[in-house]
Amino acid sequence: MTELWQQVLSGLGTGFIYASLALAISVVYQGTGVFNFAQGVMATISAYLAWTLVTHGFPFWGALAVVLVASFVLGAATERVFIRPVEGASPLVLITVTAGLLVGFQALVAIIWSEDPQRLESPFGDGRVSVFGAVLTAQQLGSAAVVLVTLLITGAFFRYTQLGLRMRAAAQNPASARLLAIDVGRMLALGWGLAATVGAVAGVVFAPTLGISPGMMDSSLLLALAAATLGGFESRAGAVLGGLLLGVATNLASRYAPGIRGDLQLVVPFAVIFVVLLVRPQGLFGRLSSVRA
């Protein structure tokens, strides 16, 4: 029983990575209408930036603050430079562009920082904490807490601020939003910047666990996409919940299902995507809407 509890808790811990990436993907999806294949590698860039700053003597939290700002700029710039020329095009065109961004960014990361894996020391020390019988590292607990706070702040931003309201309006109905003097293009860029920032928190805070390499976010991207599918791409809260559920599910599967271990864990998100799309394609919290031809 303790064993199970332990597995659930540590699964929940890694689930926060998928939850924040899924939230980022969901924010972009609502604004731009496609999922961003490059969301994971953008978090990787943030992790490398943090690593560079830390190796140059920055304290961890100072580096994180700088990287968050840089990631926001990077995300918004990506929207302006790469997505803007095809804004309003078919989802097919947009998604092809994000796939191109994924490949290009990943290669550039490897060229700039080399493919050798790097290590980032945990800012939480290497203590251990006992939670009702299960033992968690300080890193696990601390990174989950930081991401949780980020998710709450993001949620509050969308729920309670003027700007958040405008961004939701621009995403939900661009035409009406324009009539209300909302600059939809700017809102889209802000959304991409915000998404990159949320992803950056996960990338940097979890870097000590994941290790830093050009492909560090590859499997997290698939898990996050599965999480967003499960929760529903339109639902930010759903995406977060989906991420946590997938964290627990993959962890339990790799512990108790024979043969599913290491990189084969990816079978779990694959199965989740497949089954959810078959059974409930709008996800747990997504809304179905009918269209007029």
Partner: protein, 363 residues
């Protein structure tokens, strides 16, 4: 229940995926066109068969065979990108599946290679039909999700199923021997085989797309609900097209394995899938000539990059080249290389403002 009342995620389908028939060239007379192509094919085969061996080296034939097999796969991918308005981020994996199917049938079971290649086709069709199912209700973009997952899952699975796939070392099969009495080397013989199959596949596909099915696909791509209201069986169509597309990719994979003789899990990563998409877009997603041009691009890029950069980073620069080509073509030449003559003619001729793929999709 009819798909017309089925609910669709509104923002995912609000923009039509491609321009419809307006962008198509007028339908040529099928018989003349087929005859012309058959004649070209016969001439190429004849020249290739009689050309002095010194003219084209075996290595060049090996590369040409890669171009041909990748062109077949891109032809299959074009069904999705150019006609069905959906994307597959996993055609590289389906290609790999076909390669392994042929490798296992030939290597472990002693099946003659023509049958093994047909086996690859069957595997591709079956896997494609199953993977296409989730796209039933929401169409297009969900295929992107499922196929991305397949692209990421396949390499570790191939690595793990050691008894079947040989693990990280992959599978190697003996060289394909030309029939006795023919004065060909193995790559030359495979070139003739690949070229013939390419012609056959493209002929079948273009006939399929020129008829009812092509119109149904165009209708469904511009508005799923409208197509369903006009009695287009959109659900069956989606699955059928994806299955055919996957089958063609797997067939190409089987042929590619015969040429390369060794298949390893590393050959069929996500990057290869993106390379195929790049080839399709660079060549032009609604053209089979474009598929050939795109395939040539996919094979040429590594060669061009290799001499110019630090060898340790050649792989990365290659990726950058693919990504840059993909983006530039989407932004500036949405009809790809195949559409270039028309684009140039239009620029020189009527001076009508050029419309990009994106703009056409918007209207």
């Amino acid at each position: 229940m009819s798909a017309a009342t089925g609910s669709v995620r509104s923002d995912a389908t609000s923009a039509p995926a491609t321009s419809t028939t307006a962008a198509l060239p007028p339908a040529p007379r099928v018989a003349t066109r087929t005859a012309a192509w058959a004649a070209v094919l016969a001439v190429v085969l004849l020249v290739a068969a009689t050309a002095p061996v010194s003219l084209i080296s075996d290595y060049q034939f090996f590369q040409l065979n890669r171009v041909l097999t990748i062109a077949i796969a891109i032809g299959g991918l074009n069904l999705l990108l150019g006609w069905a308005g959906s994307i597959s981020a996993g055609h590289g994996a389906l290609f790999g599946l076909g390669a392994y199917a042929t490798a296992i049938l030939v290597g472990d079971h002693g099946v003659p290679w023509p049958l093994a290649v047909l086996g690859s086709l069957a595997v591709g069709l079956a896997v494609g039909a199953v993977l296409g199912l989730p796209a039933l209700r929401l169409g297009g973009l969900n295929l992107g999700l499922v196929t991305l997952a397949i692209a990421l899952v396949l390499p570790p699975v191939l690595n793990r199923l050691v008894p079947l796939t040989g693990g990280a070392f992959g599978k190697t099969t003996p060289e394909v021997v030309p029939p006795a009495g023919l004065p060909f080397s193995s790559p030359q013989w495979l070139f003739l085989v690949d070229l013939t199959i390419l012609a056959l596949v493209f002929w079948l596909l273009s006939n399929m797309l020129r008829g009812r099915m092509g119109r149904a696909l165009d209708a469904a791509a511009s508005s799923r609900a409208m197509a369903a209201a006009h009695a287009v069986p959109t659900n069956r169509l989606t699955v059928a097209v994806f299955a055919v597309s996957a089958g063609v990719a797997a067939l190409a994979g089987g042929l590619a394995h015969l040429g390369a003789r060794t298949s390893t899990p590393d050959s069929y990563t996500f990057l290869f899938s993106i390379a195929l998409i790049t080839g399709a877009v660079v060549g032009g997603t609604r053209s089979f000539v474009g598929a050939l041009l795109g395939a040539a691009f996919v094979v040429l890029v590594p060669e061009l990059v290799a001499g110019r950069v630090d060898p340790a980073k050649a792989g990365q620069w290659q990726q950058v080249a693919y990504a840059a080509a993909l983006l530039l073509v989407i932004y500036f030449f949405p009809t790809g290389l195949a559409g270039l003559p028309r684009t140039i003619r239009r620029l020189l001729g009527r001076r009508r403002p050029g419309r990009s793929l994106a703009q056409e999709a918007q209207s």
